[in-house]
Symmetry: C2
Subunit: 303 residues, 2 copies
């Protein structure tokens, strides 16, 4: 089973899944769902963290709890939203030490409070005997940006400029995948500063190349990224490899061609222009010598 | 690790966890959390379903999907709420057949739509190689009852009469744990009919005895159940055993002593008076010969 195949199925069937429910504004396939049960719109996101896949056995519980919450919060940031509550569900390995289970629950509370979304409920269970990994499922609810509303993946227009916050690559090798700061302030600042010129946004979790491909597909445009422009982390040498690495949790966004994007936003996060959208389909990385690499095939399958 | 010990910890620490967040009306410890990010209150619930614990390997996927959604919907019913959206997260066994994964996703959509809460988002991952069980995590959001609001566990008062819907016992042996109908219509009808005389409510998932003990603890009262009054399913002979069985998903509720509770509600579901609340603490089952059994020690630890 490939995660990406299943996500494709879910995206293909999502229109049917939510048909007849007018309170569902955005169904499966974007960074968050958007629902409006009463007057105001809500962002909803669930994400899972599995020992051995998203963190190595032996990772300090503080970092496990932090990453579990931060991953889902990053998706709220990608819509320019503000988290306000979370739910945490855990399945523990059989015979998991009670003291560790207690600590993990308290650490999840701490991490959730840090980003403004206290854990208001949850579920705990343990696996039957066997060598099963710790498995966490985190739901975060958020409010949409008060003036710009939810920033979707589907708003890129031909002619738009494509930007990324911060720098990318090497998240796993460096350990940054455990310590990244979700770009909440940056997402909100972009929405406030750019308003309707901020056409689309998502977070980069499966690799810049693959995620830019998803942005292009959601917006039915073609995206070309200039390899030489992509900002790399200091410990990363190869741009194509960096664009294949997962878990950067930077914001990838599209703006009107004439929009004045600040070079630095929030508390000093750079914004770098890395490409453009044109009419067409697909997504490529353009190398310095003019060759193009298909970006869709890059990236990292989480599952 | 015992699920019940961890739930106790979570309940003990929940006041701290949500302190300083005025939008959180009810934190961990009730059937659902209640949050009010804007004007209107929302119910939130996450629940997990694990192969080998909550369903046997080989259970038809239709019933797995149905139970996964129905369990969380039952908690919305227990607050007298109405489900409006859901999120579904799955971790698949390694090398799980793609066709089964696809089918399960579609079946989750079907089940969620059935109870009015279309699946608006989700996450899929797969375990690393090894013999790991299919694991589902379902979040359901609901609205509170329009006139009565959310019906909590903590509202029982000394002198209240204690009722249960339907009949209990033998859910696993009979397979009813896979086919039960969440008591949405019943919860809403009780709230509409009884109004503020409906003091407290919860669903019975871990056994009538243990859950009545939780209702008593949440309300700081003592609850006495008359064994002879407890309505049993036709295939169940032993009342104490039935009160220990889990997964009835009936509603257990407390009303003012003089409230006129209909004998039958919604589409023919009986309501049976099974006991009373008095000042004090604890919960007992009173046998026909006058002996009392501590109810708290009965019931079924899910994890």
């Amino acid at each position: 089973m490939r995660e990406s195949d299943l996500l494709d199925l879910i995206a293909r069937t999502s229109a049917t899944a939510v048909a007849g429910f007018p309170g569902v504004l955005v169904g499966p396939g974007d960074d968050c769902a958007v629902v409006a049960p009463g007057g105001s719109a809500l962002l909803l996101k669930v994400d899972q963290l599995i020992e051995g896949r998203h963190f190595a056995p032996g990772t300090p519980l503080e970092l496990v709890a932090r990453k579990a919450i931060a991953r889902a919060v990053s998706d709220i940031a990608a819509m320019a939203g503000t988290p306000f509550a979370s739910l945490a569900a855990a399945v523990f390995p059989h015979a998991y030490p009670q003291a560790d289970a207690d600590r993990l629950c308290l650490l999840l509370h701490d991490a959730a409070r840090r980003w403004g979304c206290p854990t208001v409920g949850g579920d705990v269970a343990s696996f039957a005997p066997g060598d099963h990994p710790l498995t966490l499922s985190i739901t975060v609810l958020g409010g949409v940006h008060p003036t710009r509303g939810a920033v979707l993946r589907s708003g890129v227009r031909p002619g738009d400029a494509i930007y990324v916050t911060g720098s990318i690559g090497g998240s796993f090798a460096s350990g940054r995948h455990l310590t990244f700061e979700p770009r909440l302030a940056e997402g909100a600042a972009l929405a406030a500063t750019l308003g309707d010129d901020l056409h689309a946004m998502m977070d980069v979790s499966d690799g810049l190349g693959r995620d830019a491909g998803r942005l292009a597909a959601a917006s039915r445009v073609r995206i070309e990224l200039d390899t030489a422009s992509i900002p790399l982390n200091a410990d990363v040498l190869d741009t194509v490899r960096a664009a294949s690495d997962g878990e950067d949790y930077e914001l990838l966004f599209a703006v009107a061609a004439d929009a004045a994007v600040p070079g630095v936003i929030a508390s000093g996060t750079p914004c770098t222009r890395i490409g453009r959208a044109i009419a067409g389909s697909g997504c490529v990385l353009r190398l310095a010598d003019g060759r193009e690499i298909d970006a869709i095939g890059l990236g990292w399958d989480h599952a």
